[in-house]
C-alpha cells in the first residue's frame, strides 16, 4: 500500500485537479456523457426529426423519419429510442411506435437491423443507428424478414408490394391487417 500512496502523491503534485470538500454530488454517468456527445455529432438532414419528451433525460427520445424518396415517401415514421446505463456496451433499444407494413419491422414494432443486435459494437454511435434506420425505408430488405408476408410480397411482386405500402400508409388494410395512418 505504501508504494501506491507515494505514487499518488507524486502524481498529485503534477496535476491540479479534484478535492472539493463535503459530499460529492451525483456524477454524470458514462452513458449520459456518451449520448451527449453522440447527439452533438448527429447529421440529421431534412428527413429526420428528434423529439425529447423530457429534455433533461437524453437517454429516451423519439426519432421521426420522413423519407423524401423511395416507396415510403410521404410517410412519417416514429421510433422510440431507449438507451440504458450500459450504453455503449449495450445497443440502444429501438421500436417503431406505429403499426406499419415493412418487411424488416414486425407488428409489435421490433426492427431487424443488424447493428441493433448481432453486429452492435461500442465503437458505433447513434448516428450509425439512425443512418441504418433511414436506409431501411430507402431499401427494404426481403432477405431479412420480420414481417414474412411483406417480405414475400416484395420478393415476388414488387409492384404489388408498392401498392400495399401506399395502402398501409394511408391507414388501409393489407392481407386483413389494418395499419396505422402515417401519411404526413
Amino acid at each position: 500500500m505504501l508504494k501506491i500512496w507515494s505514487m499518488k502523491q507524486k502524481q498529485q503534485q503534477a496535476e491540479n485537479a479534484e478535492g472539493a470538500d463535503g459530499k460529492k454530488k451525483k456524477k454524470v454517468t458514462a452513458a449520459q456523457l456518451r449520448v451527449q456527445r453522440d447527439l452533438q455529432e448527429l447529421t440529421l438532414g431534412s428527413t429526420m426529426k428528434m423529439t425529447f419528451p423530457n429534455p433533461d433525460d437524453i437517454l429516451n427520445f423519439t426519432l421521426t423519419i420522413e423519407p423524401d424518396e423511395g416507396m415510403y415517401k410521404g410517410g412519417a415514421f416514429a421510433f422510440s429510442f431507449t438507451v440504458n446505463q450500459n450504453f455503449p456496451h449495450d445497443p440502444p433499444k429501438v421500436k417503431c411506435t406505429q403499426k406499419i407494413y415493412h418487411p424488416n419491422i414486425d407488428m409489435e414494432g421490433n426492427v431487424c437491423l443488424n447493428i441493433l443486435r448481432e453486429d452492435w459494437k461500442p465503437v458505433l454511435n447513434l448516428n450509425a443507428v439512425i443512418v441504418g434506420m433511414q436506409f431501411l425505408f430507402l431499401e427494404p430488405n426481403a432477405s431479412d424478414p420480420l414481417n414474412k408476408e411483406a417480405a414475400d410480397d416484395l420478393r415476388t411482386n414488387r409492384d404489388a408490394f408498392k401498392r400495399n405500402v401506399r395502402t398501409s400508409m394511408a391507414g388501409g388494410t393489407v392481407r386483413g391487417v389494418q395499419f396505422d395512418k402515417v401519411l404526413r
Binding site: M1, G22, K25, V28, T29, L39, D56, R117
Partner: protein, 421 residues
C-alpha cells in the same frame, strides 16, 4: 488448543511476512507491523457466488481478519455443485449471510460482515471504510458502477481515498484477474472494448427461420411474449414465466421440426447463463486473493495489471499491462475544480469556457446528472434548452455539483466541479 491451532495455522504466512525476499520492495518493513497492518485491513468482497465463495475462503486463510461481503442473490439448487459454502438446507437463503457465517465458523478469529443487497444501495461513505475491494461479479454493469464509484472517490489530498480494485471474472474455461488503481492505472471503462459483446442471433432468423432449439426459445421470449403477454413485464426469476417460454418454444420447435429443447435450456437462454466451471473459479479467485495479500502488505510486487487465463484449449496465460485510455469517459477526464460566480448566466459561463487555456471550447454542450443545461444539437433539444442560457448558474446547478461538457472540437469530454464563489 485454539491458540496452538492458530499459531500453526499462520506459521507460514507469518514467515512470508517477516523477512524480505528477492522481489520485495526495498521500502518494505517486514515483521509485526506488516502483520498487524494485514490483520487490521478492512476489505470488501463484492459477490458471494462462484468466485465469491473461493475469494472469501482464500482471504480468510490469507490472514485478513475483517472482511465485508455484498451480494443480492439467494442460493439456488444449481449453485451447490461449486459454491461450496452452501448446503442443500441453505437454498433460498441470502448468499452473503450464509457464506459469511460458514467462513467465520471455519476460520477462527475472522470477522465477516454480510450485506444482502445491491452495491448501488451503498454510498461513498460506505466504500471509504475499506482498504481494498475484491470483485467476483458476473455483470459488466456492476463492474462499471463500482469502478466509476471508486474513481470518483479519489481525493488528491487524501491518499487513503485510493482503493485498489481487484477484479476477477470467469466464463467457462476462461478467466481474468486484474488490478486497478483508481485514477492511476487503466480502469474497467478503459478496457470496456475488450469484453466481447454477448453473441446475439439476428432477430429475423428468430422470427422466420429458426434452425436451433435456442432460436425457438429466443422467439418465445422476445416475440411471442410481447404478442401474447404484452402487459406483464417478463421476470426471468419467475418459474411460471420460464415455464411459459419453455412450452411456447416447444410448440414452435415442433412446427419447424427442431428437437432438443429442455426446461433448463430455456432458463439458460433466457437468463444468458454461461456454464460455470469450479476449477476456473478457483484459479481466478486464487489470483485475485494473492494480489489482495500483496497489495495490503507490500510483501511482493502486485500484478500490473491484467492476467488472462485461457483454459479452453490447453492452458495459456498471458499477463500484460493494459493502458489508460486518454479519452476514457470515467478516468480520462477527472473533474477539475472551477470557481464560478453563481450569479453568472449560463451564457456567460459558456463564454468563459471558451477562454480557458486547457479547454477553449467553442461549441460546448453540457449537463449535470439530472439536468440538460445546454445541448447544441439536435435542433429540438437546442430549442428546449435555449432558455437556460439566460438563467443564473445558481438556478441550474448546486454548489459543488459536477457538470460534463462535450465539444465537437475535442475527442475528450471535460468534467468540472463548480464551486460557488
Amino acid at each position: 488448543m485454539a491458540s496452538a491451532d492458530s499459531a500453526t495455522r499462520w506459521k507460514y504466512l507469518y514467515k512470508a511476512l517477516s523477512k524480505p525476499g528477492p522481489f520485495s520492495d526495498e521500502d518494505w518493513v517486514p515483521g509485526s507491523e506488516t502483520i498487524s497492518a494485514l490483520e487490521s485491513s478492512k476489505v470488501l468482497v463484492i459477490g458471494a457466488g462462484g468466485l465469491g465463495c473461493d475469494i472469501l475462503k482464500n482471504l480468510a486463510l490469507s490472514g485478513f481478519k475483517d472482511i465485508h461481503v455484498i451480494d443480492m442473490d439467494t442460493i439456488d439448487i444449481s449453485n451447490l455443485n461449486r459454491q461450496f459454502l452452501f448446503r442443500q438446507a441453505d437454498i433460498g437463503k441470502p448468499k452473503a449471510e450464509v457464506a459469511a457465517a460458514f467462513v467465520e465458523k471455519r476460520v477462527k478469529g475472522v470477522k465477516i460482515t454480510p450485506y444482502v443487497g445491491k452495491i448501488q444501495d451503498k454510498d461513498e461513505d460506505y466504500y471509504m471504510q475499506f482498504k481494498l475491494v475484491v470483485c467476483g461479479l458476473d455483470s459488466i454493469e456492476a463492474r462499471r458502477w463500482i469502478n466509476s464509484t471508486l474513481i470518483s472517490m479519489v481525493d488528491f489530498d487524501n491518499p487513503e481515498s485510493l482503493k485498489p480494485l481487484i477484479d476477477g471474472g470467469t466464463e467457462g474455461f476462461k478467466g481474468q484477474a486484474r488490478v486497478i488503481l483508481p485514477t492511476l492505472s487503466s480502469c474497467i471503462e478503459c478496457q470496456l472494448d475488450m469484453h466481447a459483446p454477448r453473441p446475439a442471433v439476428p432477430l429475423c432468423t428468430i422470427a422466420t427461420i429458426p434452425r436451433q432449439p435456442q432460436h425457438c426459445i429466443e422467439w418465445a421470449h422476445q416475440i411471442a411474449w410481447q404478442e401474447q403477454r404484452k402487459d406483464e413485464p417478463f421476470d426471468s426469476d419467475d418459474m411460471e414465466h420460464i415455464g411459459w417460454v419453455y412450452q411456447t418454444a416447444l410448440e414452435r420447435a415442433k412446427q419447424f421440426n427442431i428437437s432438443g429443447i429442455t426446461f433448463q435450456m430455456a432458463q439458460g437462454v433466457v437468463k444468458n447463463i454461461i456454464p460455470a466451471i469450479a476449477s476456473t473459479n478457483a484459479v481466478i479467485a486464487a489470483a485475485t486473493t494473492s494480489e489482495a495479500l500483496k497489495i495490503a502488505t507490500s510483501c511482493n510486487p502486485y500484478l500490473e495489471n491484467y492476467m488472462m487465463y485461457a483454459g479452453e484449449d490447453g492452458v495459456y496465460t498471458y499477463t500484460f499491462e493494459a493502458e489508460k485510455k486518454a479519452d476514457c469517459p470515467v478516468c480520462g477526464n477527472l473533474a477539475r475544480k472551477m470557481t464560478v460566480d453563481p450569479d453568472m448566466t449560463l451564457e456567460v459561463f459558456i463564454e468563459t469556457l471558451g477562454e480557458r487555456p486547457e479547454a477553449q471550447l467553442k461549441k460546448p454542450s453540457m449537463r449535470t446528472e439530472e439536468k440538460t443545461l445546454y445541448q447544441r444539437f439536435p435542433p429540438q433539444l437546442e430549442e428546449q434548452t435555449r432558455s437556460n442560457l439566460k438563467r443564473k448558474l445558481r438556478e441550474l446547478v448546486q454548489d459543488g455539483q459536477e457538470i460534463a461538457v462535450s465539444d465537437p472540437a475535442y475527442v475528450i469530454d471535460f468534467r468540472y466541479r463548480l464551486i460557488f464563489s
